[in-house]
Symmetry: C2
Subunit: 239 residues, 2 copies
């Protein structure tokens, strides 16, 4: 289990999760799984990671999660939790050390509403590169993304805080971060041109220890992304 290499169809099923640990089924370059990795890192939770070959999934993984998606968590009792926001809220509840959500019900609701808004931004990170690849004019989509960024920028300006949930990092920042980390890779960095507060937020984020711990080098991202776009994702690139 001390390998980062991905497990594929035909691999032997792992044993139970050791007591005192939680297991994350992940994929090294998946932004959704990165949300859970960030929360595990930020809260300092003892865990082990098993990376899954998403093109050729192990049978035993599909038994644990019939949807076959990462992130998926498993605890020593064999309980399985999936879907990135659900895994992160689960970790927040089970591991009370270093709370990432505000204590008040309204504070929690605000974070969920921000996440719901952000879920409408995520598709642009896929639609624009896909459109470009197909030789389409993506300027309208880029315009829409810039508008979404302007709203996020306005939110930071109105709040007068360094992060989306206040003056320190909270859950919502980690939920949004993985896509901003890929801005350069997706050739979308210019979309931040008119949103200085949002740009400063991205700079602040890169200083966070959990963000640093979960990040790949630009070169590694590029190589994986190339293999992904060619239809042959190299899940083990760089290992």
């Amino acid at each position: 289990m001390s390998t980062e290499k991905s497990f594929a169809k035909g691999s032997a099923a792992p044993g139970p999760v050791p007591d005192g640990k939680i297991r994350l089924y992940s994929m090294r370059f998946c932004p959704f799984a990165q949300r859970t990795r960030l929360v595990l890192a930020a809260k300092g939770i003892k865990h082990e990671t098993m990376n899954i070959n998403l093109k050729d999934k192990p049978e035993w993984f599909l038994e644990k999660n019939p949807l076959g998606l990462v992130p998926t968590l498993e605890n020593p009792s064999g309980e399985v939790v999936y879907d990135s926001p659900i895994t992160c809220e689960y970790l927040e509840e089970v591991y009370p050390e270093k709370k990432l959500l505000p204590p008040s019900p309204f504070g929690k609701a605000q974070q969920k509403m921000m996440l719901e808004h952000f879920s409408k931004v995520v598709p642009y990170f896929y639609k624009i590169p896909m459109g470009r690849k197909n030789g389409e004019d993506v300027s309208a989509l880029e315009g829409e993304l810039k508008e979404k960024f302007a709203k996020l920028n306005e939110d930071l300006v109105n709040k007068k805080t360094g992060f989306f949930g206040g003056n320190s990092i909270t859950m919502i920042d980690y939920m949004m971060w993985p896509w901003f980390e890929r801005l350069e890779l997706m050739e979308l960095k210019h979309c931040l041109g008119g949103t200085p507060e949002l740009k400063k937020w991205t700079e602040r984020m890169t200083e966070d220890a959990a963000v640093k711990a979960c990040m790949h080098s630009a070169e590694t991202y590029k190589a994986f992304y190339k293999s992904y776009q060619e239809g042959k994702p190299d899940y083990d690139y760089g290992l």
Copy 2:
């Protein structure tokens, strides 16, 4: 405020929410708003309701919630919460009486995963009637809906419980119910033919006091739905 009639553009903005109450901005026939109405009723929360004309929204409502969607909650401090699952979790946290979510983090995660699955069922309740209206062959869509129902049925069979979260009603039952209440209206009742446990669940649900309190008569639903399909929704039908 003691009217159920809907508020439209040009109406006077309401005053603050009275102390000790919460206000729901709703629409009498909206299944998403019904989720929140069910939770308010089940938990016996003191509240007032203001129905919104969704075709011609009041300016003051758009100021409170720029998305202009129901359900939206407002508390006496002027804090605003929207998006149906977020409003329901908020109510669950603020009003601890009669808990609708299980106490354990895994129990809560299970309810969220079930809700996530169910969110993939909801579109069928719109796509099938729409397709029929346009004279399309909807048999494939009906087949897919029946498969989704079969999964829900299997879930009840495996759990050997009367409801989706155990032997009494919990949050997930209320989150799913509004669409089942409209099965006859949507001419989809035959899709329950091969799923006896799910059918029994719908029968059990109609015996619940909160479900009864939030229900309209078949005749009222039909009249509203007709006006809705004709593009002139009569939000005040029957008042």
